[in-house]
Amino acid sequence: MLKWARTKSPWLLHFNTGACNGCDIEVVALLTPRYDVERFGIKLEPSPRHADVLVVTGPVTKQCAPRLKMIYEQMPSPKFVIAVGACACSGGIFQDCYNISGRLDEIIPVDVYIPGCPPKPEAIVQGVAKLLGKLKG
């Protein structure tokens, strides 16, 4: 029952850990008429406590890392993480910068990686669909 509910309507929490806004804009664009992911039951949710999936964009800056961990801990289990964009997947162009704490998957476990700089909204939809496929088993 729970599994059925999750795959029918996953609630996403979006957190920017130092991105350039490129990926963030594309994530927001998902909600708007052309892509409209709400028809799949996917919804952006403001509070970590109600979210199923954490969508992270950007390389993880030192100032953001503790907050990211905190948000991840606040989410109820089972929880899933999607890394959107080259920066979240690997650190991208910023990987050696002094204020970056490291790759996202060194800080919290990641389930799906969506590469691209920024990935097209279609790619993000596909990434979420992959996650849903994984959940169905």
């Binding site: 350039c20 806004n21 008429p33 030192k62 100032q63 953001c64």
Partner: protein, 557 residues
Amino acid sequence: MEKFETAVDVLKNNLADAIVELKVPRPRKAYILLKSERHRDAVSLLLKHVEESMLSTISGVDLGTEIELNYHMVCGGTVTLKNRVPREKPVTKTITDILPGANLYEREVFDLLGVVFEGHPNLERLLLPDGWPKGNYPLRRDWTPPLIQENDSGSEEDSQNNSEEDDVGSLVSVVVGPQHPVLHEPERFNFTVDGETVVDVKPRLGYVHRGIEKAAERMMYFQDVFLVERICGICNAAHTTVFCQAVEDIGNIETPPRALYLRTIVHELNRVHSHLLLLGVGGHLLGFEALFQHVWRDREPVMDIIEQITGNRLMSGFNTIGGVRRDINPNTVEKALKTVKAVRKRAVFYKNVFEEDATLRLRTEGVGVLSKEVALKLCVVGPVLRGSGVASDVRKDDPYAAYAEIPFNVPCYDECDTWARLMVRVDEVVESLNILDYAFNNLPGGRLRVRVQRKIPEGEAVSRVEAPRGELIHYVKSDGTAYPYRVKVRAPTLANLLAFPDAIRGGYIADIPSVMGSLDPCFSCTDRMAFVDTANGQKWRWSLDDVNSHKNRRVLL
């Protein structure tokens, strides 16, 4: 043009004894080396004699034994005043008492280069993380990253708690951010409120500080184009244009006219999609969800055109030093012109909505007032400045790319409130579409780019463009190698941020989202607020929607 000459003359006549070196390598660009500690006189002279002169930014450069502070003053063109301080004992006098707008820039230099500004009202950390070790200044040339312990989650909360201790009587502190789902970047704002009225606000930046200026020194010029592009995904074309211009300026590279027109086209497409984005988000922040969805739907055809021209929806990767990287074909031009026409129709419709919708006007008129005097004093830029009655636009004042040849108007409103700032953007969308129309129809032929050596000769250059959010300035210094010696970036949001406390002070909590939105910061964490009542230590949360419904209820009553 005239303003710039007056500025240089004023300095020559009144400060002859303090000027060590004066260079005017290009029209509207002057570099003046002053004797140490004379920068205050120069700045006050310019403010007194040149109307509407402002400070763009302060860029610090580590020269080895000295740290050079470049005060980039805008007066028609850019007058760069140089003040050198010894590196061993980097102390100088503040200019915040003459020009309050220098506040954040001095804090930035203090944070990243360790220069102490005597007399600064709150010389505190601006960008670096809370657990950063003392005595480490990343922008000094010989600095290498130390082994820093991961800062524990407590340190961030500490600074939060400190500010809560300041609460007295009925004053309550409200923390907004850093996590927020709908919008872009994570920053934290600490509001002090008395009942419903906002008394003060303290921003904490640095959640997205990545260290790009340092990274730029490690990469070659042509690689840096891709790095600066990733400073901001929304106005990426502005960043690459301004960086390429600065490098071309140092290397005396002549960009072919077709490249200049293509740059202008991508730059304006960027502006159209950025403004539409903000207008939609503005609607969302006011609780006008339908407007948000409509505007973003109309933004998609613009994204399609950008994708067709540059190959990507957001990161264009289009500009390069010496020209542009891709050509456009007649089919694309034809399609783009059709889109321009369709979007212009919609823009006119939205202008009507913003002018006539009663709720929208009630929520925005007279809210977040920023008077012309305060705006000039705080050195705000772009649509915020134009919404406060100053018709300043880099495209007109200091034309670059193809703007000198293209006719366009600079929209300007005297209301000084949130509504005016939104209206400036609505009008600018129409203006930008007209520019696009002209540029597509008058595209000159010829080469796309000139070949450029990897090594760029020794020199320095300041370059400015009008990014969607306002004046964007890059300062590049070259030491004759293929790697830049110093790249300094001042994005428009930092300039406009200082205006936020002034605009919101005395306003209502419910106006926070709309005022912040109207400044169009590259971040907006108005989404989830934690209210802390210090009297009984009770905590509760409001989502953005709660705040909006609360406010709308009051408007309707």
